[in-house]
Symmetry: C2
Subunit: 624 residues, 2 copies
Amino acid sequence: MLTYHRLKSEKLPLYDYEPWQIREKTFTIRNNHHNETIFSLGNGYMGLRGTFEEDYQELTGQSTPGFYINGIYENEEIIYGEFAPKQPKYYQTMVNLMDWEKINLYIEDEKFNMLKGEIIDYERVLNIKKGYLKRTLVWESPQGKKVNLDIERIISFKHIHLGAIRYEVTPLNFSGMIRFFSELSGDVKNHHHLRNKRALSIIDKGIKDGKLFLLMKTNNSEISIGCNIENTLINLNDNSITKTDIVNKKEIKEVFEIDCKKGRSYQLEKLASFYSSKDIPKEDILYQCEQDINLILKNNGFSYLKKEQVNYLNNYWKYSDVQIEGDKSLQQAFRYNAFQILQSTGRNGETNIAAKGLSGEYYEGHYFWDTETYIIPYYIYSHPEIAKKLLSYRYKILDKARDNAQRMKLKGALFPWRTINGKEASGNFLGSTVQYHINADIAFAIYKYVKATDDKEFLYNKGAEILFETARMWLSLGHFEKLKDNKFCINEACGPDEYKPAANNNCYTNYMAKFNLQFAVEAYKELKAKKRDKLKEIKYIINLFDREVSKWEKASNNMYLPYNEKLKINPQDDSFIYKEDIDIENIPIDQLPLVNNWHPLTIWKYQVIKQADVILLMLFMGDK
Amino acid sequence: MLTYHRLKSEKLPLYDYEPWQIREKTFTIRNNHHNETIFSLGNGYMGLRGTFEEDYQELTGQSTPGFYINGIYENEEIIYGEFAPKQPKYYQTMVNLMDWEKINLYIEDEKFNMLKGEIIDYERVLNIKKGYLKRTLVWESPQGKKVNLDIERIISFKHIHLGAIRYEVTPLNFSGMIRFFSELSGDVKNHHHLRNKRALSIIDKGIKDGKLFLLMKTNNSEISIGCNIENTLINLNDNSITKTDIVNKKEIKEVFEIDCKKGRSYQLEKLASFYSSKDIPKEDILYQCEQDINLILKNNGFSYLKKEQVNYLNNYWKYSDVQIEGDKSLQQAFRYNAFQILQSTGRNGETNIAAKGLSGEYYEGHYFWDTETYIIPYYIYSHPEIAKKLLSYRYKILDKARDNAQRMKLKGALFPWRTINGKEASGNFLGSTVQYHINADIAFAIYKYVKATDDKEFLYNKGAEILFETARMWLSLGHFEKLKDNKFCINEACGPDEYKPAANNNCYTNYMAKFNLQFAVEAYKELKAKKRDKLKEIKYIINLFDREVSKWEKASNNMYLPYNEKLKINPQDDSFIYKEDIDIENIPIDQLPLVNNWHPLTIWKYQVIKQADVILLMLFMGDK
């Protein structure tokens, strides 16, 4: 995974190096796609791109609105260039759900649009410490009306089904009519990946008891998603407001017309709640959405959510912050990343961390081994309860990993490369399967988690079964090779470096497999010594015999570990050092990244690496 | 290529071992698909499956009618499971063209159908010596009417645009009305490969001057194909015939009604001619079809075609027959194959030999390196003029092979793995590109052709340019590897064995590349000595300098040639001998062939071979 894309539109930095915030100081439409990602909000359950409340998408093509719930995907059959047996059958693609953040503002007959009139003052701030997004601006309309706008947005960490927007308007140089158009739209589509970009059908919609509601369903995977929205004008008596409901075929709107006075502020609060059939029975979705909103309304709405948000993050930062002196850029980058990780992480044991978090559609919302390798270590030492949930996800999909091993005529379990629901979802001919090291990465994460927390219950109840099944996979994948002193060799595998798939004895893979096998043996012995009944239960369930465990030990002890005596290095695999040198300095910039511009075979023949491979191994197993 | 499929429906042999024919002695509908292939006729330009004249397809699902013209294909965009750059963009799929062999016979109101009534006598013979297909049978209708049928079919080798059927009926126990329904149908589709199976649109159709005509066009590749048909009742005066024309939306029919007398024979001759816009301008197609038929009609029709066919084949067998004593099966197999090769071979320098000939749709009518490796040697020593045409095809597509090299960031020319029009047409992630050895196979065929014929003109005018461009490809593909004594190594390549794609130093590939480079150097030196002007011209055209030729020589002389001192063998590649042994005897039969049942990665990790690899090398380079 992890392809590096250069930002072409602007030279970095786009934002000042500030310790606790990301601040955009001027509005620049050509940076909008980028900013929609940077200013996205999420809470692990759902995520909303930093798309402005007012319309720009159709006007400019510079906007990609997106709202996602972690784990909600659409299936689509994978079409291959040529048939090969046992390839994965269906894509899983995270679905762009209802568009709910839209609020258009009319000042008399002029529609607020930052591309028209004049922006006198502008600032957009993502407050990392407190967890909200705020835009403040003074705008003068083409006809000369000035307004101050103050717009805040929250996706609640505590109330994970809730998002909210607080939209404040202050007429600066006029009194007159303003109108809010607050929308909930089912007219949505995916921007990437799906052949049929319209993954959703509208099942129900309307306005009931002052709440906009919308129930949708994915066409193939048949997951239902519902939303309720309540719009409230704060501190206004109903006499000064005219309210109109509009229910169109694919969208619902509430229009508020207010006779405004110069200098006074008018606030619209938009509360939105979301549930899916992954959470509760589909019949209860809309009811539960309503209940959630009512609860917040009772508690003072947006202000309450914001207060709770600050509390939540105070607690998060207590255990997560790292203070870096002397490098403001790094300080900001660390905190932004720590915040984004929290925004992205599914914490219910059923979901995980999508490659792009919940901020966009690339990588289809898929979970990779990056979770165990790059993110779980962070949680282990800051929020081990989250690390445990993420590892529990692997236990949850263990059955599907068993099916995946069977697909490859392997024993035990083989965890998928890309997945949401546990099944392999990649249409990449080799990539979908060849990164067997995922098994060991998960085993290694379990090891680190248990070592740091001493959470033996997790090891006994979930970890051990994962370890045994992954160890089984290794034993069936490799073999004792007579031409290599009967060492245990693993052929046709890919390490972290995806530019060398299907190599023999990838160094990272073999070392990590050795670890996986050994840790499985140790866990087995520990269970035997301390939890005989539990071991008996697991052995019964997975039909495990002692002789198999001996074989794991033998394979681990006799693992072939590539080392070149002449060069005194651990070569990446059996053939890497015999590849042609690449003259990387002289590759024209328009051919980078190579993965997007060169045929795979062209890349493979060079000593060029996509991801750190032996380097990563040194980090994990440097002591070996 | 070349996947072995077992014939499940019947135990072999289906036919007696006879020296000059294939004879079906009983009609068995469940063997029909198989027999349609075995009894197919062709002449290198076009091919017709051995489908019966009367309808069975819709009745039984046991029939796959097919008529093909060599080189007529439809394009369709390749969809890949996941994007990778520089992959081939379009499929080329041989198109199932108009259905023209259909003749339905009615005896009073009973439609002739071998699945009804009783077959009293039956024989179908493919006469290999004389080049025609003949079916003879006595059939008793459900109502007790007996007829003798005698049906012959020819695809003319001499008049390559013509095919003909002679259909003779003899009422054995009755006098009465019989009717022939002779059809020409545009209601056709491909049976395999294309997503949109309907590749053709009807442009024009009708009956004019007693001829049925039909003009069609492929939807994407925009190739026009036309047909004329003339039906003639032999030795009958018009008084005894009633003729009706039927022009439907997608098909044209002529119906002949004859008042027959018991014991007398009635013969319908159906002559058909075909041209495409690959042959002549599309405006002239139908006119030229008409002219071709008129010419044959003037010359006594079917009998004339048959006489010419026998003459043609007499001449062919004079140079091609091999008499084998003591093994009737082998004798028959040899002649059948020699006949099928002739039927399949495009001989106009613009077309080649499709993997399944012109007998069916598998492999999409694609040309592979099998032509140079397995078939050209046969022609070199029997019909060198055909070998020359086949090699000229490679010269014709040289420009596209240059584009193909460029696609892979290689120099010179890289011939495609699968093609009709010269562009690579495979959607196989690796297969589409990795068999670089094709270049050397072509060079080797040129070598053998020139050596056997001493056709230096071909070498100078076409061969040399191919050799130089293929040599260039090798030099850019491989490199001198410092860790292997600066030997010239070729990595990430696939030999004939497709179960080991992307191996380093495939033995077959390296030996053949060495030969290719060396032969290019020799050709260069010979031209320099004997045809300086021609060499100058080529060098100018392809921008070739002497220093490049020196590098070819250096690479050839220093080619890394895999040899294992310990095992005293030429290993297939750098890693083959370190793969796991496969227990081939214990693979359940339902998992064969592996290529259709195991994931490629599962196969690759074993020492199992799809095509002879080192073995084939031993055949070619045994003396080396």
